[in-house]
Amino acid sequence: MTYEELLTQEALADDRFVVMTAENRALVRNIYAHLGNRFIDTGITEQTMIGAAAGLALRGRIPVVHALASFLTMRAFEFVRTDAGIPNLPVKLSSFIPGFLSDGNGPTHQAIEDISLMRGIPNMTVFAPADEDDLLKMLPQIWNYPSPSYVRINTRKTEYEHSPFEFGKAEVISEGNDVTILTYGLLFEQVLEAVKILQAEGLSVGFVNMRSLKPVDEQAILNAAKCNLVVSVEDHFLTGGLYSIIAEVLLKHQASAKVLPLALNEKWFKPSLLPKVLEHEGFTGKQIAEKILGYNTKAVQATIAAQEFSE
């Protein structure tokens, strides 16, 4: 099943759903044929789309809205905050090509402050799936939850079969004493690689797919803090993302830990195709493992699949 098939299925089963886009049709090219006038394309108008989504939600609809991540979260920020956030309306934001997924587009399209912005809005919920399987497992619960939500859409395919999604719960892939890596979104793939390398070097490695960033699984973070080193890995600015979330949770519970953040520190990333971006910015599995180890290994980095499409 694909994102579009799942959305079509949900919308056909429940006529509260309307599908909207600010002319970003990559994920919803075929849905008009199924939904007719419940598919609404407002053109390149992210702000008007969000306001109209709020109006539709006032009338009992559940609008699932689509736009490129940077424009959805930044150009339309005040509309999201004021028209969906203040009244707590179930406007569902599907954010396309967030983080490194904007690969060759350049900094205009780099949504690497989206988690920070969206989680700062009262009533907003925030999710970042590891891959398509994770995405499809979380969406039905998110779409049926009576609050606005932000989802970093990630339709990349991996071999990993995720556990069922629980709202506000992280997915613990493995537990370990030496180091625990916390991540979300497409870097899950690379951390899977990194974990194998670290284990081959003899480390006991914990690995957590955070997936639900708001509400966040505080216990998963506190559990990770019990090992010698916590590593946060994210395609996001250092400020406001997972590293900040970990700091907030540790402070709230008066806990401490040694934390190594791997994030974009006060910089946009160099645009190229995704595999080259990861390598240039130091986020391949091998690079992540070696940053944690503090030395180079003879491990061979697995091939990184390129993006299927971009817009």
Binding site: V18, N37, I40, M49, G51, G55, L58, G60, T82, D83
Partner: protein, 289 residues
């Protein structure tokens, strides 16, 4: 004048409009309010709730009611004054203006029954109104959606973005009403960001446009009785109004937008509203919040 205008009791409306203005003036002390912009919109808001909208105490949750969105939210005293006069709100409650124990403040919010959506940030409710109008179209409903805009608010690009989308979706169940009082916060619109020719601008965006005297109940009635102005076209009413209407001592005064009058000034202004001499104002002015 059209025969349709015989359906309204103009004298009654004018008498009620005076009472709405009294409410507005009484709210303009102890912290004050946007009195000038409220006085300009008072007649058109009163007309809509009295004569045109299918909105009353008994149907505020009915999906078949009409909707009014006050995008120019700082004129909410005119709306509350209207609610008080039409029985949608207790008049006594207006004394709670700016009270920490109530929800009556400088911009509208949905804690007050009859308010469809909060506003205050300009250029938002055109799109929210579009969402409601779209849903009514999808469901085949007959209800109508009014969105009141300030003329200064038309500086916001999202007003024009919304006009493009309303035109694309042929939202003839949606009426944008511009309170054309010729002023934005600090100065005349034409001296800062000129809007004219405004009729032509809206027409160029595909709207069916009427321009009327927004203080003339016959003209309001004639315009709204022609709804929908043209099938398949979004409706626009440009209501030419006077900022501060009813109080010559502040009418068209650029520095009388947000006013916080003293108690003696309020009493004098209430007499001025009823035709007595102008008030000598000494209270703070041009308090831009």
């Amino acid at each position: 004048m059209s025969t349709q205008t015989t359906a309204i009791d103009k004298q009654q409306l004018q008498a009620t409009a005076l009472k709405v203005r009294e409410h507005i003036i009484r709210m303009a002390t102890d912290g004050g309010c946007f009195v000038g912009a409220s006085l300009s919109a008072a007649d058109l808001i009163l007309y809509l709730y009295s004569e045109w909208l299918n909105v009353n105490n008994g149907n505020l949750d009915d999906p078949n009611r009409d909707y009014l969105f006050l995008s120019k939210g700082h004129d909410v005293p005119a709306l509350y004054g209207t609610f008080a006069e039409l029985g949608l709100m207790e008049s006594e409650r207006l004394k709670n203006h700016l009270s920490i124990d109530d929800h009556i403040y400088w911009h509208p919010n949905t804690k007050i029954p009859g308010i469809e959506f909060h506003s205050g940030s300009l250029g938002h409710l055109p799109s929210v109104a579009i969402g409601v109008a779209l849903d009514i179209k999808i469901r085949g409903g007959k209800n109508r959606v009014v969105c009141i805009l300030g003329d200064g608010e038309l500086n916001e690009g999202t007003c024009w973005e919304a006009m493009l989308v309303a035109n694309a979706y042929k939202l003839d169940n949606l009426i944008f009403v511009v309170d054309r009082n010729q002023f934005q916060a600090n100065m005349p619109t034409e001296d800062l960001i000129p809007l004219e020719p405004l009729h032509d601008k809206f027409a160029a965006f595909g709207a069916a446009v009427k321009r009327i005297d927004g203080h003339d109940f016959d003209a309001l009635h004639e315009a709204f009785s022609a709804y929908p102005f043209q099938p398949g076209k979004v409706n626009v009413v440009i209501a030419d109004t006077i900022r501060g209407r009813g109080l010559p001592s502040i009418e068209r005064h650029a520095d009388r937008w947000f006013c916080n009058f003293t108690a003696p000034e309020i009493e004098s202004l209430l007499r001025e509203l009823h035709g007595e001499h102008q008030t000598q104002l000494t209270s703070e002015t041009l308090v831009v919040r």
